[in-house]
Amino acid sequence: MATTPFAPLLQSIIRHRGVTGVLLVGEDDGLVVDSVLQVGVNGAAFAALTASLYRKARRSAEAAGLGRTGYFELDAVDGRVLAAGKNELVFIVVAEARINVGLLRVELLKAVERLP
């Protein structure tokens, strides 16, 4: 269970159908700041690897002259990972493949806006 001031934000996302984990992660170190995870979801792995992916996308996009990256999404055969960052934190949503991506994207961006 979430134990930090970020708990309400995490809870607002985890309640969506198909979401199996929500994590707030340091972008540079890939360590979990807070998380709400269903049983069996490897939070440390999602945190480290998604933060790394997000960081890579952000740096690559900047190097390619595309400016700051706001939203990131990885789709796979059996699941999706959504991420958005602010102030060196990355909000990560782990979900099943069949979800309403549009709705989750909007909810995620709203949650990120509310980060301090």
């Binding site: 540079d28 170190d29 440390a44 792995a45 480290a48 790394s52 960081r55």
Partner: protein, 156 residues
């Protein structure tokens, strides 16, 4: 790949760790400072220096951990401006070993922790129980030893 190993079983897990964690340097060493395998260093003498220092850090931080917390720290992380250092214990059947890794923004502490866990598991599976030192040097090695020392000391 700039990798060298002192024991063949080290190569596969160390290579996997380097590939996964994308580190600049990685060294598996004995707590005494003896290198078992390394990636990234060009000169063997530099590896030995890194190992000596890593062993010293491990020894002193273990003692510090025992002093302040009653138990040793399982891993250490130092974040520099450009590069970071990760030093962690790797239990092996023949006794505890150490993993030293140096990385930059291409990797992260979270990734190092993740892949260190995998590395520990692989080492646990692959390391032999005890390292055997079979006879190696020819019985009449003294002549070569003297010659090499003389070269080193400019007496040749």
């Amino acid at each position: 790949m700039r990798m060298s190993v002192a024991a063949s079983w080290v190569e596969a897990p160390l290579k996997q760790f380097v590939d996964d964690a994308r580190v600049h340097y990685a060294v598996l060493l004995h707590p005494s400072g003896q290198v078992l395998g390394q990636y990234g260093f060009a000169r063997s003498v530099d590896v030995m220096t890194a190992c000596a220092l890593a062993a010293a850090i491990d020894a002193s931080s273990r003692a510090l951990g025992m002093l302040v917390e009653g138990k040793a720290f399982p891993s250490l992380h130092y974040a520099g401006r450009e590069r970071q250092i990760f030093l962690a214990e790797v239990p092996a059947p023949g006794g505890r070993l150490l993993l030293l890794a140096v990385f930059d923004w291409e990797s992260s502490l979270g990734l190092l922790q993740l892949y260190h866990e995998e590395f520990r598991a692989r080492v646990g599976e692959m390391a032999p129980p005890i390292a055997h030192n079979a006879p190696a040097i020819a019985a009449d090695f003294e002549k070569e030893l003297n010659k090499n020392l003389a070269v080193m000391f400019g007496r040749a």
